[in-house]
């Protein structure tokens, strides 16, 4: 399959819808170890990204969709999730540069660039109890699936499963980054809200590709 600008726009619609539906749960998770606004920031950011990319015309390339999403997400949100997701989309835009449409392998390369962008901007390592604990295994699983000759939807399904496992594993971790770091051992037992929302985002991307 080939993923073009129309497909990517639909993907942002799907992500925004999924995050909006998940907003209250994400705020509750954040309330346990942070300041209870993660769902609000994510919903605001993806709604802004959805609306901004919807305004792109038919001559736009996938890289324009990602770059537009990055800028609109960032300026709607600020916070921590703003720079992290904006950097993710900018890296995806760079990976997609010059292509009118993305092959399955191109799409997974852009997906992996997103994870790397989040890691570079936030400087979190695996085990720090952040969204990286969902994004890195997801990127690895998607890459492996493509190497095995699977399609992009299948690769993203594998990524969703890996992200979900990664998010679940954050329960046992002690937070060392961001506001929850101040909790130390008291963060144990709670899922990291950034990892939880990453699963929702990746799952929505997978479903959108499968449609």
């Amino acid at each position: 399959m080939a993923i073009d600008t129309t497909g990517l726009k639909a993907m942002f619609v799907a992500i925004a819808k999924a995050i909006e539906a998940d907003k209250d749960r994400l705020c509750m998770l954040d309330g346990a170890i942070g300041d209870a606004d993660h769902g609000i920031a994510m919903a605001l950011g993806f709604a802004a990204a959805r609306d901004a990319v919807a305004g792109l015309d038919a001559t736009s390339h996938p890289t324009d969709v990602f770059n537009t999403a990055a800028k609109s997400f960032l300026n709607a949100v600020g916070a921590s999730s703003g720079p992290l997701y904006a950097t993710a989309f900018m890296r995806a835009g760079a990976a997609a540069k010059g292509k009118a449409e993305l092959s399955d392998a191109d799409f997974v390369a852009a997906f992996q660039a997103m994870a790397q962008g989040i890691r570079d901007r936030g400087k979190a390592e695996p085990g720090d109890k952040t969204m990286i604990d969902a994004w890195l295994p997801a990127a690895a699983a998607a890459g492996e699936a493509i190497l095995q000759g699977k399609s992009a939807p299948d690769a993203l399904n594998a990524a969703t499963a890996a992200a979900a496992n990664g998010a679940e594993a954050t329960k046992a971790m002690v937070a060392t980054m961001g506001r929850s770091a101040r909790l130390g051992d008291r963060s144990i037992g709670h899922v990291d809200p950034g990892a939880a929302s990453a699963v929702t985002v990746i799952d929505a991307m997978a479903r959108s590709l499968g449609d």
Binding site: C27, I33, D37, I40, A41, G78, G82, R121, R179
Partner: protein, 335 residues
């Protein structure tokens, strides 16, 4: 159960507040054309002066934009409730504040603020605006002394920004302004106590749970958990607990001078704050430390959170001169 707030629309709360602030304080403040979240002092920025840009999330009023004015901050970037502003309004504020002698970024040490302000600094470097950053880390309950760089910035910003703003207003060099800003941060010690949560306008739900008879010492200004939760005790005992933590680290000698800030987290009354200050005055007198100046009231709030913070700012001749330097801001005047 939803909390009660006098708002129209939670999603528009920051915008509507800003309109009200500019209507009330138009003599001091204006927004950058095309960048409504970049708030600039009408009098302040000028050629050859180091520009001071502060900022952070909304919900802490009068922090941060209330401290924009001649003699203090030149401009402020305003974020969503409890969320760092994105890079664009920070860039807008910095360009308005820049007098060609460099721009100092000062804000509390939070991961989101650091990422957004750093991205703004990268963008400004492309336009040849030199930016240096001094993070405030005055909340001594937020990390141990040996991890001071991890501490968050809270109400002590008041003294830290004041010192830096005075240095900038005196037309000192970029190096000197930065040095004084760092020194002011090193001389500022805050501990807070929370009694009841706040709620965000978008959720109208308490942002943490605490028992009806409980308090939490060291809680952050966004409800980040503190160092000790227990039954609420009489004010004097709570103040003693907080001051003991501050004095243990500040280690003052008889004859030292400090400035005192007793700050409400939002809904704690002036009556309670003055009861707190009564005990602080007794304790300082007991150890022979002089209170050069004291401020009591709302300086760095957490919406309607109940509780207070105590900040001591240890003075020497230089920091006292910075503190006594006049300033005329939208929500604060001195000298």
């Amino acid at each position: 159960m939803k909390t009660k707030k006098l708002i129209n629309d939670g999603a528009r709360a920051v915008e509507e507040m800003l309109v009200g602030i500019l209507a009330a304080h138009g003599r001091h403040l204006h927004a950058v054309e095309g960048s409504p979240r970049s708030i600039v002092a009408r009098s302040g920025p000028r050629p050859g002066k180091v520009g001071l840009v502060i900022g952070g999330g909304s919900g802490h009023e009068p922090s941060f934009l209330g401290f924009v004015g001649k003699g203090l901050a030149d401009a402020c970037a305003v974020g969503n409730v409890f969320a760092s502003p994105p890079p664009d309004p920070i860039v807008g504020a910095a360009k308005a504040a820049s007098g060609g002698a460099g721009v100092l970024f000062m804000y509390g040490n939070y991961a989101g603020d650091v990422m957004n302000f750093d991205m703004a600094a990268e963008l400004l470097a492309l336009d040849d605006v030199e930016v240096r950053t001094v993070l405030s880390t005055d909340d001594i309950a937020s990390a141990p002394f040996d991890q001071k760089q991890k501490r968050r910035g809270v109400a002590g910003n008041f003294f830290i920004f004041k010192a830096a703003g005075a240095a900038c207003d005196k037309m000192l060099s970029f190096d000197e302004c930065e040095r004084i800003a760092r020194k002011a941060n090193d001389h500022t010690y805050t501990v807070g106590v929370a009694l009841a949560p706040c709620s965000l306008p978008q959720t109208l739900r308490p942002n943490f749970e605490i028992g009806a008879d409980e308090m939490e010492i060291g809680m952050g200004i966004h409800g980040e958990p503190g160092v000790q939760r227990g039954p609420l005790r009489p004010a004097d005992e709570v103040v003693d607990d907080m001051l003991d933590r501050i004095l243990a680290e500040m280690n003052p000698s008889c004859g030292d001078r400090v400035a005192v800030l007793v700050n409400s987290l939002g809904s704690t009354s002036l009556m309670e704050l003055y009861i707190v200050n009564r005990r602080i005055a007794v304790r300082l007198a007991d150890i022979g430390v002089g209170a050069h100046a004291t401020w009591v009231g709302n300086y760095c709030t957490s919406l309607e959170m109940a509780g207070a913070s105590i900040t001591l700012h240890r003075l020497d001749g230089e920091l006292q001169a910075m503190l006594d330097h006049p300033c005329d801001c939208a929500m604060f005047r001195a000298g």
